[in-house]
Amino acid sequence: MHAIEINGFQKTYRVGFWFQKQKVGLKKLNLLVNEGETFGFLGPNGAGKTTTLKLLMGLIFPTAGSAKILGRDWRDSEIKKRIGFLPEQPYFYDHLTPRELLDYYGRLSGLSSQQRKLRIPKMIERVGLTDTPNVQLRKFSKGMLQRIGIAQAILHDPAVVFLDEPMSGLDPIGRKEVRDLIQSLKREGKTIFFSTHILSDAEALCDRVAVIHQGELRGVGIVSELVSKSEGRVEILWQGAQALRSIEALGAKCSEAGEIIRAELDENSLQRALEIIRNSNARLISVNPVRASLEDYFVSRLAHPVEVAQ
């Protein structure tokens, strides 16, 4: 059984004064997400990521298509007890304190009074808000709001967590905190489906990613495979400017940062380059194969509208 199964979701909006024009929000989307997987939904702004999440959450209705979450119809209200959702740039009832907010969401999720009493303090501790359990949310920073947002999404211990741009607009510390939280959810074996346009976060967290652009799925790939593809080139770092000219002569692209020189060159020229470094008494620091990055994959998918089989 797949955690998420999207079968041909489509969304078309009618726009204009007489609603005669059609605007495509999402073209026929088919997607499978495995249980326990951390799945990144990548795309530039306006690609259709939030539309997909809103469709899955039942906030908007599809023009065509259907979906299953944990094997049940996505509209089934019972299934919503087993999912958690953090919207993009969430705004919560700012007159409430974290404790009151979590109590409210706990009640909506069907948690008993006893369960809420046990879980809320633990959740506040888990997201690092122990100093502010009784401070109204209007006094919270963006990072703190994001953390309380994650807390409300996981309070009822859902099996699948949907996060819409969870790191968007956060400073580096805030991003790290949220990343750590997502990693801890991953360790607990939860299925995490998160949309982002920050590729480094996706690379660090995801098992698989899908790229969406202009409402169309452009590709799905396994992150470890995508980033381990060797490009047939190597990167050498060394200290000692005397070897620079000779290595450049091999066709290497060189750059200097202080005393350290970096060269990227063809794998076939590696042995010759190492000899040059040794013979010129320069100090070799490292030799590494140049790997494809998620960014390379992302950019290639945006450029080539090819739907990839999953």
């Binding site: 908007i60 209200s77 919207p87 009640r107 909506l108 069907g110 949907f162």
Partner: protein, 258 residues
């Protein structure tokens, strides 16, 4: 359903109570009621009539203002601020959300009216030095005012389920004003001929008959309100609220949230 509707209702109530505008309105009404005895001194011999009319009318107007201005934001604010997203991604059905929101605001208005009524009776006691059986009759007028609030809250919720807050406020206010003259509208329909009569008759049935719920003048003159009117008005308000809130639910069920 279980505890979800009460949870939403309580949250709505709590938000309204923590809203400073609400406190200002209550304060203003209480101030008005408290100053009534001073005005009463100007109108010698009719102090009590003056106080009952002024106090209950103020209570009604400010309650309607609260119902409309909080009511227009009940749904739209939740959509604009995306708080609704986290609510509806839980096992909460849309009709439960609308019902909870309605009950929350209705409850807020009941509590406010209760507090205003206490203030009003304090002012009455200060003016007349004693409270008699006739003064209990005023509670019927207060009850009808509460029924008016229930109706206007439902109407505001209905409009806010498909239009902008400003539009909702205008429509709801218009309904309140026209509804306050519903009996006149029916009188006009009876006198008119042709299409005008039909239009007036249809309009008189669509708008809430708030004039039937206004017995302020009668209680100020110690007229006893018959139990049949209390019963009929209660049934009327119940059905009117059920229809408008159901309308809001139906519209909201099919609405795409931006």
């Amino acid at each position: 359903m279980s505890g979800r509707i009460p949870a939403i209702a309580f949250s709505t109530f709590r938000e309204a109570v923590r809203d400073r505008v609400l406190y200002n309105l209550i304060f203003f009404v209480l101030l008005l009621v408290a100053s009534a005895p001073i005005f009463g001194q100007i109108s010698v011999g009719v102090e009590r009539i003056f106080l009952v009319n002024l106090g209950l009318t103020a209570m009604s107007i400010f309650g309607i203002v609260i119902a409309i201005f909080i009511g227009i934001g009940l749904v739209s604010k939740e959509i604009d601020k995306k708080t609704l997203y986290t609510v509806l991604s839980r096992p909460v059905r849309r009709w439960e959300f609308i019902t909870g929101k309605y009950l929350g605001l209705a409850g807020t208005l009941v509590v406010n009216t209760f507090l205003m009524t206490l203030g009003f009776y304090a002012a009455l006691l200060f003016l007349t030095r004693q409270l008699g059986r006739a003064d209990a009759n005023i509670l019927v007028a207060v009850y009808f005012i509460i029924l008016q609030f229930f109706i206007i809250t439902g109407i505001t919720l209905l409009f806010s389920s498909f239009s902008t807050p400003i539009e909702s406020a205008i429509y709801a206010l218009a309904m309140f004003i026209v509804g306050s003259f519903a009996e006149d509208l029916r009188g006009f329909a009876a006198m008119a001929h042709g299409p005008q009569a039909w239009l007036a008759r249809i309009a008189s049935y669509i708008v809430p008959n708030l004039s039937m719920l206004n017995v302020i003048t009668r209680v100020s003159h110690d007229q006893i309100i018959p139990a049949s009117l209390i019963g009929l008005n209660t049934i009327y308000a119940f059905f009117y609220v059920t229809i408008v809130v159901s309308g809001a639910v139906i519209i909201f069920e099919f609405r795409n949230l931006k």
